[in-house]
Amino acid sequence: MLLLKPELQVKNNTLNSYFPIRTKDRYDIFVWDSALGHVVKHSYRKEFIPFKDPADPTGKKKKQFELADFKNASQKVFLRKLDEADFWPIIDKMYFEGNELFKITPEFLLFKTNKSENHVRDGRLGSMFASLLQDFVFTDKPHSQLNFLEQQLYDVLSLHLKSQDVATGDLVSKEAPYLPFMANHFQQDLKFLSKRPKYLLSIFKDFLRLYAHLYTAQLALNLKDWRSGEPKPKLHYFILDSEKASDERTLVKSYGHKQLSAALWSIFPYLAMNESLQDNKNQIMPIWALAQNLAEHPTCAEALESYAADFKANRQLNTSISNSQDPLDQLQNLLRLSAAQFSRGESRSDINLQYVKSTESELCSHFIQSRGRAGRVMVFNQDYLLLLTNLAVGEKEKLRFHELILAFESRGVFFDKQSQQALITFYERIGNVERMSDSGDAVYVFKTI
């Protein structure tokens, strides 16, 4: 069936799929903690049972279960079980101050998904991960060794949780994954981490930030290549933060920050156009899948052509467009027009510039450093590197260095030869390598967890 919207009308540019940033966003948009909550909600399929509002005398009113309600419920249980009631304040101090509660098990992070003023934005970040997760669900629940006090708290929490119905709206992803390879890795890695809950809790935020960046970068780099079908990891070179960036490193220079910056520019125009072509009652498809679908229905070229003409007139553009009868050429026209409306000198150009700035600061800033003459480069710091190494080795005991590099590349992280040397030095310092010979090739890398 044709995925094209039956009535193509020129409207304002809107974007509600594949990317969490909107044109009105500026900086410090997201509270990452709540993104964690959303990922937990999605992968555990758990949510709070609506709670009887204690302020309501009739007992019919329901409200969302808040942290304060949880504390009250826990207090009741503990006071019943403790032989010295005076001990409750100590437990209160231990677990209910600061972020201690959220370090017990991932389920406690569900409190972070409660509605608040930032709820909408964080939900968008959540749905970006949901798009990566698709219908992923933990088959075996991660459980960590809790002590009996924590276990008690967890039991109280469980009383207020219910398994979500798979059919409810915010669970089924509204979009097919744009980068299937990234989605597979994300699910696989989350599954691996879920078996190590303590480690998961300690790096959860880093894990999501890492994937948010890799997703952003690979999405941007793959956008224009929609004719090649399903996306593959595109060259995207990083250096380690301990290395010098020099102009001589051609790969780092040509496939580094500059390339990414340029690619980020296309995100909004391309995705907005993609969305305007599809009916939002169905699952939204990525551009490359839409193109495949259009190619099967050559007759739709006409509709596209007239939409392109309308669009050009509405936006007062003078971009030259081809009048071919191939729907893919027409799609190309539309994408070019969509990009042209933001080009320099147009009234909209500032909007997209701001969009790129926000994207860079929110989703890429952890991986960008300014390095003197070499300008800005993509950088991997040690924490992210260790995390990525552990994910790459995964359930295996160890990987040959060469295979490790391949595992990095399949997640969209590339290192040139010089960085690879630095990597080995880094691993040697940590002590998670075993050399089989000094030919430099037969180096095995272990996980550190």
Partner: protein, 531 residues
């Protein structure tokens, strides 16, 4: 007669003789020296035997890293009449013979030809290349690829594919009495043998040149002729192998010897000041001039100030007779003292420093390694093991685990901290002797220790760096999490301990003002004491 230095330069890795290729024999002096120094190793004997017993379908892989001596062995055999017509030799699998083909394609072709030939195929290859071939080789050689994969995984491969690996013939062997390094020792012996030694002949000739002679080189050669000095150098090489994971290949070793003898300075300085040689660059870290003890510091000060010291002057005069200059830097003297630490010289002034150089680590490592890898179940072994666990491993782990909770006593293990309250539990941590007895792994680089943590068995592979860290922790050193090195291994263990401790039914809760105990009894009640 050539000059001594130019003769020695055969050893250097930059010499054209450092890489062995076919048809290279011209019976020059360099070739004669190479032949003289050649030592038949165990892997060569094994290789010869394999070659004699091989049949025409067989493929023999000789695996080692670059510089191990694969080509050296292969060229010897491919010129022998008895193998010449029976075998095809492919000396270096990382090469290709045409600009359009890469090494993988060359190997594909080689195996292809081998299918239709009636000869034994012999391939010299490094382990990295093997791994690459297993990944990227052509489909039709899946048999060979799967053999390679199983060899890399350590399982047995097909019968007609034989893998001989330099890795399986280590150059250092740990034994009950410490370690042995036959190959290195034999090489030093040959190099400095008193009779029938082509190298020594050149040395003697150099000395007759009087004024023109290279005195520094001659002095170095004489110093290296002392067996105790050789042993000290070998000990340093072994230390580099254990501590810095530096492998020893034949080529690197020869180059290292050349650097020791013909380097820019005297032997003891060449040994500790590094160069582009990979071995020397690792040994820099063991420079005795960086050891800080009162005695050593005093020596450096008094030498810098030129204070009179009669015994020292006698020692220096004796050195001058050996051809060393009388005005060295104090650091250089210290390095010399280190080199001579196991031998007599002149008035033995240098031996007053032997306590400062006392580094028992390798000895200790060898002992404990032996206890783990060759555990014989005897009472004295058990006793020695228990002692190591009690005094070193468990003490260190306990100290490290409770580094932020000084109030905890013996047998109590810190679990976690929540807003200033520390949780801890009582736990039994013991050596797990049966597991140690069952573990049959014996790699020089580490030994596996086993602990009983409550009801769980936990394994901790210990290398020399971890051992040294634990010894230092016992002495009071406090590692911090930010120098991410060996500590990672300890952290892993500590995490497991915390997990087990977290499951116990009695918890201690400590904060600034006091200490509480809370117990989960079977009736679902929490008993508190200490309020």
């Amino acid at each position: 007669m050539q000059r001594f230095k130019s003769v020695l330069s055969v050893l250097s890795k930059s010499s054209p003789y450092a890489v062995r290729t076919l048809n290279q024999n011209d019976d020059s002096i360099e070739d004669r020296i190479k032949d003289y120094l050649f030592i038949t190793t165990d892997i060569e004997r094994a290789f010869k035997e394999a070659l004699i017993n091989a049949t025409e379908d067989d493929i023999i892989f000789l695996c080692g890293s670059s510089g191990d001596g694969k080509s050296e062995i292969l060229t010897r055999y491919c010129e022998m009449a008895m193998f010449k017509d029976r075998c095809v030799f492919h000396l270096d699998a990382t090469h290709s013979f045409s600009p359009t083909a890469n090494a993988i394609q060359t190997l594909d072709e080689l195996f292809e030809q081998n299918l239709s030939s009636d000869k034994i195929l012999v391939v010299g290859i490094n382990v990295g290349m093997l791994g690459n071939y297993a990944q990227e080789g052509a489909e039709q050689h899946n048999e060979i690829k799967s053999s390679i994969k199983s060899f890399l995984d350590g399982s047995t491969s097909q019968a007609n594919h034989l893998f001989l690996d330099f890795e399986q013939f280590p150059k250092f062997i740990l034994g009950q009495q410490g370690y042995t390094a036959e190959f290195v020792k034999a090489l030093f012996q040959k190099l400095t043998a008193p009779n029938n030694n082509i190298i020594r002949d050149h040395f003697e000739h150099e000395k007759t040149l009087l004024k023109a002679a290279d005195k520094q080189l001659c002095a170095n050669y004489e110093l290296l002729s002392d067996e105790a000095v050789q042993d000290t150098v070998i000990e340093l090489l072994f230390k580099a192998r254990l501590v810095k994971d530096q492998f020893l290949t034949a080529r690197a070793l020869l180059d290292f010897i050349f650097h020791l003898l013909a380097g820019p300075a005297y032997l003891f300085d060449n040994l500790f000041t590094g160069s582009d040689n990979e071995l020397a660059s690792k040994i820099v870290g063991f420079d005795p001039a960086n050891i800080r003890t009162q005695h050593i510091d005093k020596f450096i000060l008094s030498r810098s100030l030129g204070l009179p010291d009669h015994d020292f002057e006698v020692f220096v005069e004796a050195l001058a007779l050996k051809g060393f200059t009388t005005s060295l830097q104090p650091e250089s003297y210290l390095r010399l003292f280190y080199l001579l630490k196991n031998t007599e010289f002149a008035n033995n002034y240098h031996q007053s420093f032997s306590d400062d150089f006392q580094q028992q680590l390798i000895k200790k490592y060898a002992e404990i390694w032996h206890l783990h890898c060759h555990f014989d179940g005897s009472d004295e072994h058990k006793l020695a093991l228990r002692q190591y666990y009690k005094d070193v491993a468990i003490t260190a782990i306990h100290k490290y685990n409770n580094r932020n909770a000084p109030k905890l006593g013996k047998g109590e293990f810190f679990i976690s901290e929540h807003n200033g309250f520390q949780l801890a539990a009582d736990l039994e941590l013991k050596a797990h002797v049966t597991q140690i007895a069952e573990d049959k792994e014996a790699k020089t680089s580490h030994f596996n220790t086993y602990f009983k943590v409550g009801k769980r068995v936990v394994k901790l592979p210990t290398n020399i760096n971890l051992l040294s860290l634990m010894l230092r922790i016992v002495e009071g050193y406090r590692p911090n999490k930010h120098d991410k090195n060996t500590v990672v291994l300890l952290d892993e263990l500590v995490e497991q301990i915390a997990e087990v401790a977290n499951g116990s039914d009695t918890l201690h809760i400590l904060n600034k003002n006091g200490r509480y105990k809370i117990t989960n009894d079977n009736f679902d009640e929490f008993e508190v004491s200490g309020l």
